[in-house]
């Protein structure tokens, strides 16, 4: 039962994340003025993620996946409120560092929950099915957001995504422990 809720959660945050990830490149383009800065923005993201994985991993086993997912949801909900306000390249760099950290939290937790819940024998099938739903959610979100950006502005996307993340934060808080 809880596993199904986890899939709903992952589907939702997957949607919210794919609302912003392809499009916030547009924002980076507005703020940054060179490809080198672009490279740095993404490099910092990856680097922070790399450095934080060991800590996150340990924490996941001690505190549990639920706490981490709540941190991720609320962290994203808040940081997305800062994005529309960024207008200097160093703002973007700082935000990318936080995004790297949160991204690592999500990636690691997604995998630990799956690892704790699936059967070794049928892992392929189960993880395959898990990906169907989260990917469909992501696909719908990307396409719909494309239209949204045309109608609204790039700024409004961040606000909408933030609300979705906030909702997912509540959803996760209400979930029973342990997750699986």
């Amino acid at each position: 039962m809880n596993y199904r809720k986890f899939i709903i959660y992952q589907g939702t945050i997957g949607m919210a994340a794919s609302m912003i990830f392809p499009f916030y490149v547009l924002l980076l383009k507005n703020v940054g003025s060179s490809y080198a800065q672009f490279g740095w923005a993404y490099g910092l993201f990856a680097l922070t993620a790399a450095l934080s994985y060991p800590v996150i991993g340990k924490f996941a086993d001690q505190a549990g996946d639920k706490v981490l997912l709540i941190i991720y949801s609320w962290g994203m909900a808040l940081i997305l409120l800062v994005f529309p306000l960024a207008y200097e390249i160093w703002h973007i760099y700082v935000l990318q560092i936080f995004m790297g950290l949160l991204g690592a939290v999500q990636k690691n937790s997604e995998k630990t929950v799956l690892a704790r819940s699936v059967n070794k024998e049928t892992a392929g099938n189960e993880i395959g099915r898990y990906h169907i739903w989260t990917s469909i959610g992501a696909a719908i979100a990307v396409i719909a957001t494309g239209y949204l950006v045309d109608f609204l502005t790039i700024g409004s996307i961040f606000y909408i995504a933030s609300i979705v993340f906030a909702w997912s934060g509540f959803y996760m808080m209400k979930m029973e422990k342990p997750l699986v």
Binding site: G32, S33, S34, Y35, A36, Q37, W74, A77, L78, L81, V82, P84, L85, Y87, I89, G155, Y159, S162, I163, A166, G169, F170
Partner: protein, 471 residues
């Protein structure tokens, strides 16, 4: 939790709104970021009138913008309203018989070309690139490669002008004629150009001839082999900038009417921007060091040799690539300069120019093209006070204050040299020149500024160029 989140959400939204309320706008030079009150655009004449009316009511300044490739804030004014005319871009009427076209001022040369090419018609004068709007081009009174039609003003039949009082005036050589010479080359200071009627000409097939020559043979070559040969219609030259051949080698490209015009049909497909990776790469190299400069010059020269003898339609000559020059660097930018010097002064001028800049280590000159523009003093701010060569320079510079100082000093020196040889300089660029230099190059500057006061006493139309030089 929900309360905290809602408060932060609302806070962010309010901050975001206030940021949006005063957009920061830059022109292509990227040296003048300016905070405007707002950016407005429209495709309807009524709405544009409304914008001017409202501005009159609230005493707001308006700066008019097309593609914003001017680099001295001609399209910008702090706290003002930027009227972006790019959406006001319909083609209204084509009179095939009399070869006249009427367009809204936000239309680009490219859009006109696509429209008239099937009729076998072509533009008389435009820049070498076709990305610019008609209104912007009129406001800087451009010239191009055509050696028989000189400045754009020659090809303008008439236009309608929305003036500072919100009234629409017909302007031509017969009606409101004083404004004709003011708005052409008027940098958007006299009103919004609404629609324009331009003279066209027939599309023709040209044969390309290229040749390398030394800079001191150029004046004679040009007079004898280009100007005096009736079938040569367009011309472009380049002069070398790498240190080992600094301002000495040239190669010229002439476009002459092809003997067999029946072949034109094979060449009329309008070319699109080709793959630009190669020129972009070599231009990039030339920004970095001397060896790169040499490579860039050599590839340009080889390319020019390769196109010798080929055919091209007039419309295609007038749509040169420009994308490869796009430059994105956080701490550097590329600026343009253009100097006009009488044909007979050319050799001496180049010698002086070389002496002036050869030892300037921090001055990175990437490219110089040379065109011809015949005397035309119809515009009050006319740069073509004689039959002149026009040298367009592409300069790579930093955006720091120090870099601006260095480039400014070198440019002022170059302008002094130009003025010494009875030359002038082009006004759409960064405000490096002094007011004294402006007055020497444009003896009618004072008259221009007086006319501005007469036609627009409240300074409804404002930009940084006027602000810098009129007092």
């Amino acid at each position: 939790m929900i309360i905290i989140y809602t408060v932060i959400f609302a806070g962010s939204l309010i901050l975001f709104q206030t940021q949006l309320a005063s957009p920061v706008v830059e022109d292509r030079g990227r040296l003048l970021p300016v905070k405007m009150k707002s950016v407005k655009s429209s495709d309807s004449e009524d709405e544009i009138k409304n914008i001017v009316r409202e501005a009159n009511l609230h005493d707001d300044k308006i700066s008019i913008a097309g593609m914003q490739h001017s680099q001295g804030g001609q399209t910008l004014y702090p706290g003002g309203i930027m009227l972006d005319v790019k959406q006001y871009n319909k083609i209204l009427e084509l009179d095939e018989k009399n070869q006249l076209i009427t367009v809204q001022s936000g239309v680009t040369w490219a859009e006109i070309q696509s429209y008239i090419n099937p009729y076998g018609l072509a533009l008389k004068v435009s820049q070498s690139q076709n990305i610019f709007t008609v209104g912007g081009s009129i406001s800087v009174n451009v010239h191009g490669r055509d050696i028989r039609n000189h400045t754009l003003i020659e090809t303008v039949e008439s236009f309608r002008l929305l003036n500072a009082q919100g009234k629409v005036l017909n302007v031509s050589r017969d009606e409101n004629s004083e404004l004709f010479g003011l708005v052409n080359g008027g940098y958007g200071l006299f009103g919004v150009i609404l629609d324009v009627t331009l003279h066209l000409t027939e599309d023709e097939l040209y044969q390309v001839k290229t040749q390398s020559i030394s800079y001191d043979e150029y004046s004679t070559y040009f007079t004898k082999n280009v100007l005096q040969k009736e079938n040569v219609k367009m011309h472009l030259a380049r002069i070398s900038v790498p240190p080992d051949s600094f301002l000495t080698e040239m190669y010229v490209t002439d476009y002459s009417t092809a003997d067999d015009q029946s072949l034109l049909g094979n060449y009329t497909t309008l070319k699109r921007e080709s793959i630009i990776a190669i020129p972009k790469f070599f231009l990039g190299l030339s920004r970095t060091n001397e060896w790169g400069e040499k490579m860039f010059w050599n590839t340009q020269k080889e390319y020019s040799e390769r196109i010798n003898g080929t055919y091209i339609s007039r419309n295609n000559v007038m749509r040169s690539d420009s994308l490869f020059m796009d430059y994105n660097n956080a701490s550097k930018t590329e600026v343009l300069q253009e100097y006009f010097v009488p044909i007979n002064q050319y050799t001496a001028y180049i010698d002086d120019l070389r002496d002036t800049i050869k030892d300037e280590e921090d001055f990175n000159l990437l490219n110089i093209t040379v065109r011809y523009v015949g005397k035309n003093e119809e515009a009050v701010m006319s740069y073509a006070n004689d039959d002149m060569f026009a040298l367009v320079m592409l300069i790579n510079q930093g955006t720091s204050e120090e870099s601006i100082d260095t480039t400014g000093r070198v440019i002022r020196n170059m302008i002094d040299v130009t003025l010494k040889h009875d030359g002038t300089y082009y006004l759409p660029y960064y405000h490096y020149p002094t007011k004294e230099q402006l007055i020497e190059a444009y003896p009618r500057s004072e008259e221009f500024f007086e006319m501005k006061e007469k036609y627009d006493p409240d300074e409804r139309f404002m930009n940084l160029f006027y602000e810098e030089y009129h007092k």
